[in-house]
Symmetry: C2
Subunit: 239 residues, 2 copies
């Protein structure tokens, strides 16, 4: 039997300063074939319209994943739906991060702008995305990357509010690779990684986020307990 | 402006001893109108068939919630779907725990057997449920309870593997109320409450859970940070 592993997942998100709603929606759902998927949508713009768009698209993607549809088809269907009903006038980014226990792989399906951070054994590097958002053009396709499910594999995905932070103040671009190698040490939990990156970019925006922001981190760690208990936590502040 | 609050949610679950799959599925999703919902399904039996049933029903319920359907209608629709296609031969329990930011209430919609634990200011008490599982009879309806969204409100829901633990060893029934008042102190996080209850009932089953088991805890706490960051974590052990 293989060495038991734990999938450790963490999410931190906040909305643009002075905005009530965030256009970044993140959902975690169990896959019918085993494992789970994270769906992250960044709806165009900010505020209520972006939030509505983002919830509509995440609703579509979550329903398809839970029906057993493969991730590439989920991204295409979500795009087609948006393009058909909004006539190419509205866009959104879509990220699917799936742990598939059937294939024992981590699959990243992206229609996005922001790079991702990846550590598959030799330190963190940024991986650019060449697919672009959904909703604008006929037959947009996602970019898909697959990684073997192995100890220490770490993937950090985020919406474009993260790399864009500090632009308003004309700061030098954030060196994500250097930041990750300095702050995402091997003993850091996924939640701690998401938290430290979000806190850093909010600081780059002078404490007032210039955009909606979401960070999702996944780390494959050795399973440390005797027992196999699945856990999930959420903390939602409300005013 | 009202005092800021944090919704603190925790989940712990495990499967029946020597079973690969758990028939208890729990999902957390964002509500399109604001707030979130927890969906907990316990599919009849154990192992793969129970897991498939449970994922099918959670898929249906999650899709409806994300489309904006009200909880009472979600429970009825999920029942009708199961009853229609399985002809009354298969049952499941269904729990919906929703924080609705429009009405500023916590709504508990149940088709279940197990009682729930509630502390709305005067200590924990068990609240029995009179609705019963879905799938067996024509036009089954859920029981619905609504609570104002106030600091310190605590609700703990679980599948019937929890109260039934210890039966095989003919232990005296677990006094859930006494357990909660002893172990769910005000400084305990929701995850700690779910963990301590799950660990206790596994011990009552001699370390070999007699059934699939899931515990969901929700506590409304004072918001302690300056910033409003939404967080979610998950730990999934895999072999």
């Amino acid at each position: 039997m293989a060495q038991p592993l734990t999938l450790d997942l963490g999410l931190a998100k906040t909305e643009k300063y002075a905005s009530r709603d965030s256009g970044d929606t993140v959902e975690i759902v169990e896959r019918p074939g085993g494992g789970f998927s994270v769906v992250m949508i960044d709806g165009q713009g900010s505020g209520r319209a972006a939030k509505t768009l983002s919830l509509l698209l995440s609703s579509k993607a979550v329903a398809l994943i839970k029906e057993g549809v493969r991730d590439g088809a989920v991204a295409r269907a979500t795009h087609d739906h948006l393009f058909m009903f909004r006539h190419g006038q509205v866009s959104a980014t879509l990220d699917l991060l799936s742990v598939d226990l059937k294939t024992r792989t981590v699959v990243v399906t992206r229609n996005a702008d922001a790079p991702m951070l990846l550590d598959d054994g030799s330190g963190f590097r940024t991986v650019e995305v060449n697919s672009g958002p959904i909703g604008r053009y006929h037959r947009t396709r996602p970019s898909v990357q697959e990684f073997p499910l192995e100890e220490d594999l770490t993937i950090v995905l985020f919406t474009d509010g993260i790399p864009h932070a500090g632009r308003r103040a004309r700061l030098a671009p954030l060196d994500l690779e250097a930041f990750a190698n300095e702050h995402f040490g091997p003993s850091r939990s996924s939640q701690a990684m998401a938290d430290v990156l979000l806190a850093h970019v909010i600081e780059r925006d002078g404490g007032r986020p210039g955009d909606d922001m979401a960070v999702v981190a996944l780390r494959i760690a050795q399973h440390a307990e005797d027992r196999f208990v699945r856990r999930m936590q959420a903390q939602f502040p409300i005013t």
